[in-house]
Symmetry: C2
Subunit: 158 residues, 2 copies
Amino acid sequence: MRPSHPRRSSTPAALKGDIAQLRSLEEAFAKAMNDKEIDAVMAIYAPGDSLFVFDVVGPPGVHFGWEEYREAFTQMFAAIEGPLRFSMSDLDLEVSGDVGYGRSLQRVSGVHVKGGKPFDYTVRVTDVYRKVDGKWLIVQEHISLPVERATFSPMLHF
Amino acid sequence: MRPSHPRRSSTPAALKGDIAQLRSLEEAFAKAMNDKEIDAVMAIYAPGDSLFVFDVVGPPGVHFGWEEYREAFTQMFAAIEGPLRFSMSDLDLEVSGDVGYGRSLQRVSGVHVKGGKPFDYTVRVTDVYRKVDGKWLIVQEHISLPVERATFSPMLHF
């Protein structure tokens, strides 16, 4: 992916601090994924019913609220035999006030419990963050396969 | 899709006004799509290089900047024979300060120029909006197929 547009030089220090906090949040997420630590993964998502996710894994591929998403991660971790390898690239973040938003490519690989076959895929992720009581959390997420790797029906090729 | 969490009753009037403006923006987008009016479509996207889109149509399925996205819409419109039918559902919007974010399902149908075959598909859309000089525009967009309708490789079924 090409580099994003240059960060504006007028970025205030406070804004840089918020972006650094979001970057730390994503680093914590990456560590939690590699550790297969469900509690640490879910600590970066907003609690309650407001969390919303368009997921790549499904059906149904959509999650309403923290509890539903926790269940999805639990099932995913259980379906992976042994270690999970996770890495993130092309992370780009923006913040204004108490809202942040960003995008990244996220790669996951490992071995399926079912069939014992290895897998390795990269998904596109959009996240929206809110700062509540000084703490940033993900409130909305959208995960999808890159077009190059998905097998779309011919109707989608314009 | 299930209805979203109830809007908080404490929502200030100004916030309701902003959400109403975002809803109008999306209604203008729907009209522009049905009219196949490229200029009206692109009027709701932030000009310049900062616009970023994970698209469902590709490859490459990613657009950097307003000009690239305009070219993608131009190609899409040219590939549709005659009228395009567009509708939006499950629109849910949130605003804080000068940032808004939302999600929806968007259905597009018509007939392909190539082969003359009809198509009808629904995509999942996440949008991030910024208010600049009193005007809301989309600054980031993520479009993907619902999991139910895509044909994923078996590795994605956890």
